[in-house]
């Protein structure tokens, strides 16, 4: 492995960086095929019911409107894997915002006007959109997202809890959260002689092609899915969304290339979101904070379209040694938009609850919260008993504490008053599983001394091109400049999506394998290379698909400093510092950006993000970027990410764990714990907006004058 030290692990610049800063990078809407038409969706305006009639004439009479697709005239589709993709197939309205028609026009303006002009009649039915833990229809599903069993139980959690000297019982709530990538879900589709080609904003083109093959009943080689540049996804583009299906239908129906870019306000209803999670936690511990009993019960919802269970109780199976434990998920099916993946599904909300509870335990026992976590380190994975392939949580906590200046912290709440501000600090741990999937890749040595590596990775902003080229160069033992890389094209062959923090591990493994094979082939080759070069391929189905005997997870620790304004209840994160143990970091430059990005999304989860289901209308009230507050520049003062060296031989040939999601895990809890330290008030419901924080401050008993202005 020559070149390892210089190539893999080097802070290489993004290969597509120049295109992105000059505006030359092309995203899915930006393929202006001759004759291209534009589409605009019509969302349902009832929370549940049936379409009883669609009058498209007012739209069709408008200049420039080409067609109106409805369930009555749209192409018939095959059975998809995801029922949410069965669009315009029947009159059923499973939730408000479900698309009931699509207008295709010569211009965006005509398409939008046409969508407003379509008259849809409904037969509305009673709807139920409000989540409650006491809902009589709540049930325990078989599995939660990721295939995890919905329930795990060890020993006698009730008995152990009853017997524990220190007992904590807390409820937390994480509201609906929306991915809102900057590029809305977009597809440009065209049909040429029965061949379907789509440029789509997706985290993985192989999965998109598989669905299009099912839906349109085509052989695989007649569908090409391209995703050259993708403006973020954060889980919401992990599998195809309805934009690609609608664009393909519209293109077939009109015989024109069609672009459909979903309007921002349509996204919350149709691209997935993180469902509300209601958490019930019980911790039993001894006076020194050693946990003996742990119960984490989560109630969440899904839509009527399909079952999706945010696996928020799963991290409690991994984190702390607790001999007697119970984790359980409960689900209520509601007439609401279908929830789906959002950055660290399960871990992000689950660790907010668990790590807040740990902080409450630290306060209850007087044990330093860093020390408390160290004290509860398990020997093996608590749930499975499997050994960890590597676990450096303690090192992350210690290193974070050192960098942050945790030592000497006054643990007393409200000990950090500075004028009208209350300043506090908090810590929380992070975890995310190591996932990896089979993938194919090829490598070709060319006579000019360069190499062409092809893998159907997708670059949603992670730097996939760059790091795959680094993996290739490392395995080939050549400088990365000699490696050309092709990604984002379903014709390359199967690859998993950019998701589950598994992209680099999965693609990289296949790239590495192909390059190693090519190197061997080259070693046995004599004379010059033929014109087409010399190629080798790899398929990691066996190696990457094999079940590991190890419990494999990345870990981390977040440290937050906050300033709470006692006049308004406004909270500002003045500092957020994370230290992660995620195997080998393959490109520190792009890795740091991703970790900081995840932490920033966690900051938003803590302070600004959340939406509200309207009980009367059945939609999310905060549906645009003016009302759903993703953090702005001014919210993000100092966010730093570091890592500890971790050498884990049980992962993949690169020795890497994923880094895309762990940054968001635990960061909201660190902020919340800092707010408790600052104010003495425990806020168990996110986000920590001024309405909530000021109310909490005022409800809390304070000595006279301490909340003065």
């Amino acid at each position: 492995m020559t070149g390892t030290d210089t190539v893999l692990g080097a802070p290489a610049e993004r290969r597509e960086g120049r295109e992105k800063v000059t505006g030359a990078a092309r995203y899915a809407a930006e393929y202006d095929h001759p004759g291209r038409a534009l589409a605009w969706p019509v969302p349902a305006t009832v929370a549940r019911g049936r379409v009883t009639g669609v009058d498209a004439r007012p739209a069709l009479e408008l200049p420039g409107v080409l067609a109106v697709l409805t369930h009555e005239n749209a192409p018939r589709l095959g059975e998809p894997d995801d029922p949410a993709l069965s669009v315009l197939q029947d009159p059923r309205v499973p939730h408000r915002g479900w698309f009931v028609a699509l207008v295709v026009a010569e211009t965006l303006e005509a398409a939008r006007d046409g969508a407003a002009a379509v008259r849809v009649l409904y037969e509305a039915e009673e709807h139920h959109v409000t989540l409650s833990a006491a809902d009589p229809e709540a049930y325990v599903p078989e599995t939660a997202n990721g295939g995890y069993p919905a329930v795990t139980e060890h020993g006698d959690p009730d008995g152990a809890f009853a017997a524990a000297p220190v007992r904590l019982e807390c409820a937390y709530r994480v509201p609906p959260l929306h991915n809102h990538p900057m590029e809305p879900h977009t597809t440009t589709a065209r049909w040429d002689d029965g061949l379907l080609t789509v440029h789509t904003s997706s985290q993985g083109t192989s999965a998109v092609r598989a669905e299009l093959v099912r839906l349109f009943g085509l052989p695989e080689d007649r569908v090409t899915v391209l995703a050259e540049h993708v403006g973020g996804g954060f889980g919401s583009k992990g599998t195809p969304r309805c934009d690609v299906v609608l664009a393909a239908m519209a293109a077939r129906h009109t015989g024109r290339p069609v672009t459909l870019a979903l309007p921002r306000r349509a996204l919350p209803a149709v691209v997935g979101h993180r469902a509300t999670t209601l958490h019930q936690l019980r911790l039993g511990a001894d006076a020194e904070g050693r946990i003996s009993a742990l119960t984490h019960e989560v109630t969440t919802y899904s839509s009527r379209v399909r079952e999706f269970v945010e696996q928020a109780a799963v991290p409690a199976r991994v984190m702390y040694a607790a001999p007697d434990s119970l984790t359980r998920h409960r689900l209520v099916r509601l007439d609401v938009p279908t929830p789906s993946w959002m950055r660290a599904p399960g871990e992000a909300p689950g660790m907010f609850a668990l790590e807040s509870a740990l902080d409450e335990l630290a306060c209850a026992t007087g044990v330093d919260p860093v020390e408390l976590r160290v004290r509860n380190e398990p020997e093996t994975e608590p749930d499975s008993g499997r050994p960890f392939s590597s676990r450096h949580l303690v090192e992350c906590l210690r290193e974070g504490a050192r960098r942050f200046g945790w030592a000497g912290r006054d643990p007393r709440p409200r000990s950090g008053a500075a004028g009208p501000l209350l300043v506090g600090t908090g810590v929380a741990a992070a975890t995310y599983p190591v996932l990896v999937s089979p993938c194919v890749a090829s490598a070709r040595a060319l006579p000019d001394g360069s190499f062409l590596v092809r893998v159907n990775a997708t670059d949603i902003g992670t730097g996939a091109r760059t790091v795959c080229a680094q993996v290739a160069a490392d395995a080939l033992g050549v400088p990365p400049e000699r490696v050309r890389i092709e990604i984002g094209d379903s014709r390359i062959g199967f690859a998993p999506m950019a998701g589950g923090s598994a992209g680099t591990a999965s693609w990289g493994w296949a790239v590495h394998e192909a390059c190693v094979r090519l190197t061997r082939k080259l070693a046995g080759h004599t004379g010059g290379l033929p014109e087409e070069g010399l190629a080798a391929g790899a398929d990691t189905s066996d190696a990457a698909g094999a079940k590991s005997p190890w419990s494999r997870h990345a870990f981390g620790a977040h440290f937050a400093e906050v300033a709470v304004d006692t006049v308004t209840g406004e909270v500002r994160v003045t500092r957020l510092l994370g230290v992660f143990a995620a195997g080998r970091i393959l490109n520190p430059r792009t890795a740091r950006s991703q970790l900081v990005g995840g932490m920033t999304m966690g900051l938003g989860m803590a302070l600004t993000e959340g939406s509200t289901m309207d009980p009367a209308f059945g939609d999310f009230v905060e549906s645009d970027l003016a009302s759903y507050h993703v953090p702005a520049h001014a919210d993000v003062a100092s966010v730093e990410a570091y890592w500890v060296e971790e050498d884990d031989p049980h992962l993949n040939p690169m020795g890497s764990k994923g880094i895309g999601e762990i940054g968001i895990v635990g960061s909201a809890a660190a902020v919340g714990n800092a707010v408790h330290h600052a104010t003495g008030v425990r806020f168990r419901e996110l986000p920590l907006t001024p309405d909530r924080v000021l109310t909490g401050l005022l409800d809390h008993a304070h000595p006279p004058g301490t909340l003065g202005v």
């Binding site: 000059t22 590029e183 993000v636």
Partner: protein, 189 residues
């Protein structure tokens, strides 16, 4: 605005009843005369009519900043500007920031060097916005975080808090904010 639109006069009034008008814009130094649908906003004109897709559509409602371009040197959300109302204006997009399309603008270079983006979708808007923000500060425009006691009319020095506040009209969901602030700091003389 008069000074920026010497030609602004009743004479340029288009046909009143028609839903479209002839409009001339100078975009990245090149004049374009088009018959524009009155409904067409600058962003869609750039992207659909001129093929200049650097300016991005993130929200279409002035809530994200991805569509930021410079109109007569000032940064605006191009998604909220009706093209017909800009007749005679000078537009600068991310494609027009560099010189001769070869050399990168210093901000484009610093964004690259600082890895100040990930997915890249907000990046053209961030860069155009930064160009505008630097000019505003230099011309004495205060911000929400400028000390009210700072002298009026004088250039405002840009510290991190100033940069963050002034760039807050440009959302970045990938969370590249700290690096964007670094990149902007790098080009402050």
């Amino acid at each position: 605005m008069d000074s920026q639109h010497p030609s602004a006069a009743p004479a340029s009034r288009p046909a009143e009843a028609a839903p479209h008008s002839e409009t001339t814009l100078r975009v990245d130094g090149k004049p374009h005369t088009l018959t524009v649908d009155h409904r067409r906003v600058l962003l869609d004109l750039l992207r659909e009519d001129l093929g200049l897709v650097g300016a991005k559509k993130g929200c279409d409602h002035g809530q994200c900043g991805a569509c930021t371009v410079l109109v007569d040197g000032r940064r605006v959300n191009s998604c909220l500007q009706l093209a017909v109302a800009l007749d005679g204006s000078e537009i600068t997009t991310v494609e027009g920031l560099g010189t001769d399309g070869e050399e990168l603008h210093p901000l484009q270079r610093s964004f690259l060097e600082r890895d100040a983006f990930q997915c890249g979708y907000c990046t053209p808007g961030q860069i155009c916005s930064a160009v505008g923000a630097l000019a505003e500060a230099a011309s004495g425009h205060p911000s929400h975080v400028t000390d009210p006691a700072a002298p009026s009319g004088e250039p405002v020095p840009l510290d991190r808090a100033e940069i963050r506040e002034r760039m807050s009209g440009n959302l970045c969901r990938c969370g590249a904010y700290p690096r964007i602030a670094d990149a902007i700091e790098d080009v402050i003389p």
